[in-house]
């Protein structure tokens, strides 16, 4: 789960990590008031869950409260397009108003779980090359990244902070401040079940202070059950509405750009089904895993989500019945399709437990399905259907 910069900075504050003075606002008037309170040059930053906000015009400075109000009028409500939002962009509903600071140097600090076999633990990463994406630094100048593994059994040790702060070439007085920030950032990571915490840039001011100029915290979805305070930070406006509906129905769904809708049981098979559609010359409209239970009710919900995507022109149902019996799936599909008056062409491929009974039910049903036996045959059939729809226009 992602949160906004202003929410991440609030957590930083709670953990004693210095952040610029500021506050969040949702109207130009609030922005003006905050700017007045700060009483100097300020920055207005669009709050959306995507990077690259500055380049997209979502971050602007202002010299006076009046100026701040004007800038806020431009940013609030705008459709901000960055390299991470996709061409449709994200509507800006909130801005963070902060004091503008003099920059001596921009550093990078981040923590994530490193999955490689020599680590398999949180790794603290730092770089003197802050302000740019760390992936870019990693590919162009990997020598500029310092990494320190942190074993969560046992507490944070001072040397871990020193290894980084002196590695960054910081002066003694700044190094001890950096060590404290690293330790607190690690605490957030561990105590909140984060999957990523990032300060980019970590600002070194001309006076030798360190502040988190930006803040990013992602949380492990599997850890949310024990953090009600984090769950409350979720901003549903930032998520694809269909994906929210799906999550509420216990269905794993991700919207894609194609026109072949698919419904599959199991995440691996669902990914493989998307790949098959592509190999057959089509484009998948979604990833959809109905899960293990896949009751008639769940199948109906999945169909509703799938068909709410107006781009979908044909559907492929691909089920491998294990514990889940194919005849049960077949009656679920028939029931849902007739109840919803589903008119989209559909290919159903069943394999596994009670497959013969399942196929028979489909063939005898008044609804029109094409039945496929083979995995690739199913993909080819559904792609042919889509092409036929396109031709008939």
């Amino acid at each position: 789960m992602k949160v906004h910069e202003y929410q991440a900075k609030k957590i930083f504050k709670e953990y004693g990590i210095p952040v610029p003075e500021g506050d969040v606002a949702s109207t130009p008037e609030e922005v003006r008031d905050i700017a007045e309170r700060i009483g100097k040059k300020i920055v207005v930053k669009a709050q959306i869950h995507a990077g690259g906000r500055g380049k997209g015009g979502g971050v602007k400075t202002a010299d006076s409260p009046q100026d701040a109000k004007k800038v806020a009028e431009e940013i609030l409500g705008m459709n901000l397009v960055t390299h991470q939002t996709g061409p449709e962009g994200k509507k800006v509903k909130k801005v963070l108003v902060e004091e503008a600071l003099d920059i001596e140097k921009e550093l990078y600090l981040g923590i994530a779980i490193d999955r490689s076999k020599d680590q398999e633990q949180p790794v603290i990463m730092a770089s003197e090359a802050g302000g740019v994406e760390i992936e870019e630094v990693a590919s162009k100048t990997p020598e500029k990244i310092i990494k320190v593994g942190a074993n969560p059994i046992g507490s944070f040790s001072g040397f871990q902070g020193r290894k980084i702060s002196y590695g960054l070439g910081l002066d003694k007085s700044v190094a001890s401040k950096a060590g404290k920030i690293i330790e607190n950032l690690y605490k957030i990571f561990m105590e909140k079940d984060a999957s990523l915490v990032e300060i980019n840039p970590l600002l070194l001011t001309k006076d030798g202070d360190l502040l988190a100029l930006d803040a990013k915290v992602n949380f492990d979805d599997d850890g949310l059950y024990r953090h009600p305070e984090i769950r409350e930070l979720r901003d549903l406006d930032e998520e694809e509405p269909l994906e929210v509906d799906a999550a509420n129905a216990d269905v794993n769904y991700i919207k894609l750009d194609g026109n072949v809708g698919c419904m599959v049981n199991g995440a691996g098979l669902a990914m493989a089904t998307m790949d098959l559609i592509k190999l057959a010359g089509g484009e998948p409209a979604n990833f959809l895993d109905v899960g293990g239970g896949a009751s008639a009710e769940r199948i109906e919900k999945a169909f509703r989500i799938l068909t709410s995507d107006k781009d979908v022109q044909a559907i492929l149902v691909n089920i491998f019945g294990g514990i889940l019996r194919c005849d049960r799936v077949a009656s679920g599909v028939i029931e849902a399709a007739s109840k919803m008056n589903l008119t989209l062409p559909m290919v159903v491929r069943l394999q596994g437990t009670n497959v013969a009974e399942g196929r028979k039910l489909l063939e005898e049903s008044p609804l029109k399905f094409e039945v496929a036996e083979g995995l690739f045959e199913a993909a080819e059939k559904v792609v042919a259907l889509v092409k036929k729809v396109a031709k008939e226009g």
């Binding site: 991470q84 779980i113 999955r115 490689s116 076999k117 398999e120 633990q121 949180p122 760390i134 992936e135 990693a138 074993n151 969560p152 059994i153 561990m190 079940d193 999957s195 492990d220 979805d221 599997d222 850890g223 059950y225 024990r226 794993n252 991700i254 894609l256 599959v264 049981n265 199991g266 995440a267 691996g268 098979l269 669902a270 990914m271 493989a272 998307m274 790949d275 098959l276 559609i277 592509k278 190999l279 998948p284 990833f287 895993d289 491998f320 019945g321 294990g322 514990i323 394999q351 596994g352 437990t353 083979g374 995995l375 690739f376």
Partner: protein, 290 residues
């Protein structure tokens, strides 16, 4: 022999009295698995289909000689259940539970180091050795005894592959679903090493997916040490970056962990990579018939 699960395995089911635990224990018994006991804290002393239920794993070890465990307990209790099995000296621990926080698994993984025990999972369908038994919930009917080892990060896609093999009259030595989480017990590499040394395995089919670098680590071993043929498929060739594709570990982050990259690495290591998952079975057959 086969790997991990063999004639000597005596299985204890942790969470045997729960809905999932009881259902899959019965399926597993039907498959011929040697389940010797169950454990549910607080329910010690009850009887489950003639099997004794204990409060503690150590009791199942001391009284029934349990040396393998299957875990079906909720995510908030599962890390503790794994550690309990480990401490009781269980050598094969298979955890089916989905949704364990990654940081909990980091701690479990540290505890596993140096113990000699194998953890399979979490968030996995388990392990099956046809003719011997299974721990987990792979469907019984798909398997056939034979000489192909299967390793996969997924569930139903694994069944699909095993079923393809069985329909082509190609049996399996052992099939292992290693799980879809970012931090798991045994990796591709760990299981590949076992198959490399197993006289009953002639070929290994590995099913990877996007995210992480377990596929790349396996490739290094295949390139340098593996003498048996390996057939591979990577799911998620069309997956968008930055999205968690069902499995917590199936995510392309920072441009890393794409299917294209993994397929290339596997090919360079000498793995016979198929682009189309429907071709896995036939590819295996064509290599076996050499």
């Amino acid at each position: 022999m086969s790997i991990l699960l063999n004639e000597e395995s005596r299985i204890v089911i942790q969470g045997i009295t729960g809905g999932e635990g009881s259902f899959h224990t019965r399926e597993s018994l039907e498959f011929g698995s040697k389940v010797v006991a169950g454990v549910t804290p607080g329910k010690g002393g009850v009887d489950f289909d003639g099997l004794p239920v204990y409060n503690r794993v150590i009791d199942a070890v001391l009284k029934e000689g349990a040396n393998a465990s299957g875990i079906y307990v909720p995510a908030s209790f599962a890390p503790d259940a794994i550690l309990e099995a480990l401490e009781a000296g269980i050598k094969l621990i298979v955890c089916m539970t989905e949704g364990i926080p990654a940081l909990e698994m980091v701690k479990v993984k540290k505890a596993l180091k140096g113990t000699g025990s194998y953890l399979i999972g979490p968030n996995c369908p388990g392990i099956t050795t046809p003719g011997v038994g299974k721990i987990g919930f792979m469907p019984n009917f798909i398997h056939k005894k034979g000489n192909v080892g299967v390793i996969s990060r997924s569930g139903t896609l694994t069944y699909e592959v095993i079923n393809q093999l069985t329909l082509l009259e190609v049996g399996q030595s052992t099939s292992v679903g290693i799980g879809g989480d970012p931090i798991i017990g045994s990796t591709f590499l760990d299981i590949l090493k076992l198959f490399a040394d197993d006289p009953e395995t002639n070929l290994v089919a590995i099913i990877g997916e996007i995210g992480g670098n377990a596929e790349e680590e396996a490739a290094e071993f295949v390139k340098e040490k593996m003498t048996k043929p390996v057939v591979g498929f990577i799911a998620g060739q069309t997956a968008p970056p930055g999205k968690r594709m069902g499995h917590a570990g199936a995510i392309i982050s920072g441009g890393k962990g794409t299917a294209a990259e993994k397929m290339r690495t596997w090919e360079e290591a000498g793995i016979a990579v198929v682009e189309n998952p429907a071709d896995i079975g036939t590819k295996v057959v064509s290599i076996l018939n050499g």
